[in-house]
Symmetry: D2
């Protein structure tokens, strides 16, 4: 079908989960010699998809996703994402940064990214989240990246952006869920620390895992050493996950991800 | 003190846990030019240790530890340990293999290691463990290695050999404690699987961790693939832990280990 | 075409090297509901392949490759391959072991694999290789695995089995080509050692690389430590390469490999 | 001796290279309860060192090293070092940045670090290096970090700062010495790329290696992908090497390093 429309396939990846009875496919193709328009192409894809009862999406690289980064006070993931974007590693528009603190505004500003502060207390949380959601809608945000954002999003918030919020948790999930995972890891005496990028769901730290990695630690490493070493893992794991999402390399089913890296 | 007795220091490693208020040291030295006997040397070490209220052990490489490997039906860790021993990687005497099944007797036999079967049911467990402990005592066993032994040792058994039983758990602890960790890992959709070697304590899978490692898995990996890939991690993690124990490189305090690798 | 014959596709992987102008594809499918015979299927594949000027191969899992392992005196890769085969990890027939020394005959024997000794000196090399080639032909060997075989195969030998000889070199190629790579690595003071599995070509250590891996070493590691640590990397790298070859996951073009792992 | 002066030992590490006949030791201690002054302490250390014919250095954490970063146009290592410094990971004074291009001045400026441009051509090289050396002397620079600086330093320059220039080479040395290592790696079809931090010597890419690491690449990775992936390895390897140097954890002898990490 694609061949018939003049599309030149650049990448193609399949996965078959025989047990679950699912077939997954990602095709990246070049439009330059297409001899139909987008409407015709979509109609062709839809026709094939419907024949095999498949869900499908067609995305244009010329319409990059719009990203909002959520941060609190830790800045390493924010710097990392903005620098990678500037280096051309992140095919997206960095539309805005949202924070519950004003501290990191100078970082966003020097990359020319608008910074919005929504201070949050137990009393204001509901109203502030409503404000955030309004901003995301107004700015047509496609993806929220929680780059060490220290607030738990409400179920309402998460439910509004299913499969479109990526969080970095600073442990090798499902080990050390919840708060202070480096303290937990140090107390348990593990020999590796890790980080996990996952889609946010209403079950905290239980969403579909996108990427994980680890780093070796030693008996001589204090909690502070774990925090320092962990920053490097957090940054790279989050960046890989975001990049794959931006390139539409991730398919989610149930609590699992297919990653066509 | 060592210098005064003519000992030639080959290796020396320290660790200070300021928070816990502990000082750890391991010294390996050459005895060949010692101009006192072992009794004199021990007296010297004891005198220094008592002055600083330290616990100490003096071990001779000429008196290697005697090891008992416990197995059930999985053979990969057993083969690995016996082949490493033959290759000179394991400074110990492989004294005997204990199993609750007769299946792996041919493996032990070809390395000339006696194989003892103690079939275990809920009813016979207490009596069989008593038999095992008698055998271990009679054979002057210094270390029990649970090389994918599928029985849970009773608290009485573990209490009889504190710090002298090493277990391999086929997950990255504390993730996926308990049974069928590869099934758990597959269901959770993790991107890395791991293995953990630890000292057995009365709290199952909660003992001091000696070593851990991980291996990357993908969405296309089935549970069987995880089991296959995991065998390689289990083998190498267990072998490193056992080797370090045999060379007296591990010091345990609380639920933590210092590993002077 | 496959769908038309009733084949059920289980795995499919593509790669496009736009620069070299090549398209690569591997499809694994289930034959059970095929409603043509093998001849018809091959005719179908050939017709499609010729239309697009593609080279192709059709292989049946029911006809596993026949493997000859070449060894000298180091036994770790031999044990590893034979144990993995017994564990069901290696879809092949372990047809025979060839060596220039009699030492490892007991290893082969206990797995029921015939062991052939071809002692080699400068004078006898040509004749002995002829004998080996005759044996390989007689035994219909599909793949030669050089499992730390310490003889350099002649160009004639290599030329007779293009793309069907896998060698393990105990360094991270192209670093430390040639002899005694662990000594070279120690002298250079590297912080990682490696191993490389590659197809043998007439340029020694220059063939297409299939797989590589590394392990961390420290200033305190002697050459003997490097040799010991390296054994683990050699084994796993060679096993992965052989397994991928047996499952027809490797496509070679020029000096490069596509590995559909 | 240290104990006698009231020093409280915090860390102590030894290494014995029996073959080379060298003993290495690094001791970190707390001065707060010292009951002699620095002169007295140095005299004590000197007396012990001379008795055993040892070379020694005594450094105060209160007198951090002064660092000059040399860059050209690639900015990832520069950003990484400056951000780590700001995060408190780098115990030094970031004294200045030197470049043969004006491009990265805005990066240095926003961290408040002076930026000096020395444009270099074949004709001006000698004079410009003399200018750089004068600047380094005037600014009492202890360490030069070549953070992807694309000029080859002359032997005269290197000879003036022995063991005080750290370079990052974007390959796993000794593989792919010289220019365009990612192109070389891609052409050779390796399965891992690496980076190497080493002290600069008059033999380019031949100096003592401090740290190395690797990252997996696949047949589908282009040279551009290698460049992108490589940046992450370069940054982390260089940062570890610089940090260890700043904490005086590296001892060099011959072409080897002891790293008391």
């Amino acid at each position: 079908m694609l061949y018939g429309h003049g599309a030149n396939i650049l990448e193609s990846a399949h996965h078959i989960d025989a047990e679950a009875g699912h077939f997954f496919q990602r095709i990246r193709f070049d439009l330059r010699e297409l001899h139909t328009d987008r409407v015709g192409l979509e109609a062709g894809v839809r026709e094939v998809a419907e024949r095999f009862a498949m869900r499908w999406q067609l995305r244009l690289a010329s319409e990059p996703k719009r990203v909002a980064i959520f941060v609190s006070k830790f800045d390493h993931c924010l710097w990392d994402l903005l620098l990678r974007h500037r280096a051309g590693e992140m095919p997206c528009e960095m539309a805005l940064v949202v924070s519950n603190h004003p501290d990191l505004e100078p970082v966003a500003r020097q990359f020319g990214v608008p910074y919005h502060v929504f201070p949050i207390t137990a009393e204001t949380k509901r109203a502030q989240e409503a404000g955030e959601l309004a901003l995301l809608a107004e700015q047509r945000i496609d993806l929220v990246v929680m780059a060490r954002y220290m607030q738990v999003l409400s179920n309402e918030f998460v439910g509004r952006m299913p499969g479109r919020i990526i969080n970095i948790h600073h442990s090798f999930l499902p080990a050390f869920m919840g708060g202070k995972p480096y303290h937990q890891a140090h107390a348990r005496g593990v020999k590796l620390i890790g980080a996990t990028a996952h889609y946010a769901t209403t079950d905290l730290d239980e969403g579909p895992i996108i990427e994980q990695d680890v780093m070796r630690v030693f008996h001589r490493d204090s909690v502070d050493d774990l925090v320092r070493k962990g920053r490097d893992v957090e940054k790279t794991v989050l960046a890989r996950a975001v990049r794959w999402h931006l390139e539409d390399r991730i398919l989610v089913y149930g609590n699992r991800t297919v990653v066509f890296e």
